[in-house]
Symmetry: C2
Subunit: 327 residues, 2 copies
Amino acid sequence: MTHEIAVIPGDGIGQEVTPAAVEVLEAIDAVDFDFVEGEAGDAVKGETGEALPNETRKLAADADATLFGAAGETAADVILPLRQVVGSFANVRPARSYPGLDAVQPDTDIVFIRENTEGVYKGIESEIAEGVTTCTRVITEDASEKIAEYGFSYAKQNGYDDVTIAHKANVMRTTDGLFLDTASAVGEDRDASYDTALMDALAMHLVMNPQDYGVVISPNLAGDMLSDLAAGLVGGLGLLPSANIGEENALFEPVHGSAPDIAGEGIANPSAMILSAAMLLDHLGYDEQGDAVRSAVERVLDSGPRTPDLGGDASTEDVTAAVIDEL
Amino acid sequence: MTHEIAVIPGDGIGQEVTPAAVEVLEAIDAVDFDFVEGEAGDAVKGETGEALPNETRKLAADADATLFGAAGETAADVILPLRQVVGSFANVRPARSYPGLDAVQPDTDIVFIRENTEGVYKGIESEIAEGVTTCTRVITEDASEKIAEYGFSYAKQNGYDDVTIAHKANVMRTTDGLFLDTASAVGEDRDASYDTALMDALAMHLVMNPQDYGVVISPNLAGDMLSDLAAGLVGGLGLLPSANIGEENALFEPVHGSAPDIAGEGIANPSAMILSAAMLLDHLGYDEQGDAVRSAVERVLDSGPRTPDLGGDASTEDVTAAVIDEL
Ligand SMILES: CC(C)[C@H](C(=O)O)[C@@H](O)C(=O)O
Ligand SMILES: CC(C)[C@H](C(=O)O)[C@@H](O)C(=O)O
């Protein structure tokens, strides 16, 4: 069986790390892929006026899964609609420290399960009077239940004992109150053990004691911040993959952006993108191959060539070749 | 001249650390205080049905400044109205690491200037259909300008070269767009140097490179999370004071809560509360005395008795007495 994968490198280092991930997937003999490439981001907007052309949307909609690199200024115009196109309701962001790598907190292994459709991301904003603006944050019971179901299942399947529901229900009593109650009810129904945490206090505890956390289920924007915070704990965005999971489709992307400061130099760290490809393998049912890619990346991070962000002087290609060698 | 200070210990360790701060203020010969005590929090709610009785509101409104300890379950019902009572528009939260203390990032000295009146804290929420809720986040040009003016002035007066404006304007284009544009315009007008940062990326950078930051100006909820994150960097909430600044009045409180787990044992760390009293001294114009209290706390943190949260076995009283000795 051949899997059609939409490949959208985008801007900046997206152009460098996406081909690296494709190379790694191509090196996996057990799985057949058909890669179809689409354009998105600042560059194509410059040419066509559109950051996310219709053909690219269609590519992502029709493919079995999508690999997305990064976009520059137009990041939100690309990734938010793409998440919709693949019907993603869950954004899955593992933050893990690796042996041998400098990290602020070397004992971190947390997966953020971020609601991916609502909150302030609904885009309902207006200027209701001169100098007075509003953003309508939306929280529904359905979406809260869905993300909680996903999060608790993820924790169980992946052997995480600690589940934390993040919220700010002491201030957003109705909206985050609904999120908290709904997610807690899912935990009760499953007889799962879980904790709840105010997201401000959680930010502090994650910094001080990340080893106490496993899976963190949160509303959309809180997950955005908390997962980036965790990226800081483990050594930076160059290491964090993510999956945008829908019912029938999914998109995989590194948590990092297009990094214009180092783009074009061939020194971007491809790890986050390759780890995103590993999540794609899991998603298509190739768990064994996903694990193999993860351990290959781990071994290279431990004792292989390193890009400058990790203190080395290797190129993107060096690291990619080393990962493929380890496979 | 005698200054009338409203003292609201509240719940839990608020009852222990607030008297400690009062003792320290009483030990300052150069300044005369008249302390008037008010009730707020879970305990008084249990008795009277009201977490913030009218007499307490009035006390805070009429005093020259207020010292507030902490409240338990009712924290939001107490602190949000109290901030309104004193007309606070700026929440000032210094996060500093101290020599000799274990810290995740020992080289941190950042002051968060958090907008204190709007954002999701306006409390405009509703259930618009069954299972569908909204929270209307409000950002105005006036409040954004006011907090930016305050933040840039604070940076200048306190010798911070780095000013960062935090926002999420790539998603909240209208609301955080207004915040970002308005705050940036204040920086331009003053010919000040400043940076802007997406708050998710900022969360990561603060964890990895806190030494690159000085003053961070942010919307309300972002400041809530980012300042707690920074508390994690410097050794926990036991060390972070805060000031809620209004035009004519102000309220000072530790960033920590009522800590029910250790309340009543006499082992709460009074540092955050005493440092909040130092900010009160600054606010009333006694900068020299404020500095003296800060250095006394610093010396005690460096080589004096420590409470259990900092790995010692001293009591709240031991630490307080040591600070007074150092004055
Ligand atoms: C680019 C931006 C819209 C996006 C988000 O906020 O979701 C990014 O920060 C992310 O986390 O993938
Ligand atoms: C208790 C709560 C309402 C409050 C806030 O969110 O402002 C607290 O977290 C704080 O930061 O002082």
